[in-house]
């Protein structure tokens, strides 16, 4: 596979946002190891795969697999790291146009080189393919 284009970290890639939020489809991307309950779990010790999350699912249909951030909040309300229900509510209120058909999650990994060379380009292409007007990213 062709190696992804890399920038010096001193350069900042920047795509202007020209639409109104009320006309924009938003995609959610997290590293908090979130998935549909029906999907296979992430390996909490290290996992370079990512999951697609059907955006019609509410957080009640989702789970997380993590051993690296504080769980007091997410055990009660997954919106603390993955605000899918909040984006759905903002869409109902007309403050955004809606959400993309899928959201995305990565797991915890220390295999940084593989992440950078394989997982990150894959997930970036998958995100771009669902045609978001903008992407909101959250960590754990």
């Amino acid at each position: 596979m062709e190696k992804p284009l890399e920038l010096s970290r001193y350069c900042v890639p920047f795509t202007p946002f020209t639409k109104a939020l009320e006309e924009s489809l938003i995609c959610l991307v997290t590293t908090a190891a979130v998935r549909a309950k029906s999907d296979p779990p992430f390996n909490v010790e290290g996992d370079n795969s990512f999951r697609r999350i059907d955006s019609s699912l509410s957080t009640a249909d989702l789970a997380y697999d993590d051993a690296h951030y504080d769980h007091a909040c997410v055990d009660r309300d997954l919106n603390c790291v993955f605000p899918a229900d909040r984006l759905a509510a903002l869409a109902r209120e007309g403050r955004i146009a809606g959400v993309t058909a899928e959201h995305f999650s990565m797991g915890y990994s220390q295999a940084l080189r593989e992440l950078r060379e394989t997982t990150v380009p894959q997930i970036a292409r998958a995100v771009s393919a669902v045609r978001p007007d903008a992407v909101l990213l959250t960590g754990g």
Partner: protein
Amino acid sequence: MVTVQRAIEMLGVPTVLITVEPEESAQARPPRALCPRGFIAGHSLGRPDDEALQKWIVMDALGLLRETPRPGEVVHRDYT
């Protein structure tokens, strides 16, 4: 996280990050980032079941898309 953000931005999609590790995120030079001051990992959007606060933070983050660009910086805001 910023690595993913930068890769998506390079494909021509505007992005904004909510981070609770602002020093680490700033080092990686995010296109746009919001740090809700005082929050910790696992609580990026604040308190559980506080829909109003979580929507406020989400809208503030999305609002950075429309503000004067400050690429590479993390914008800090208070939510108390």
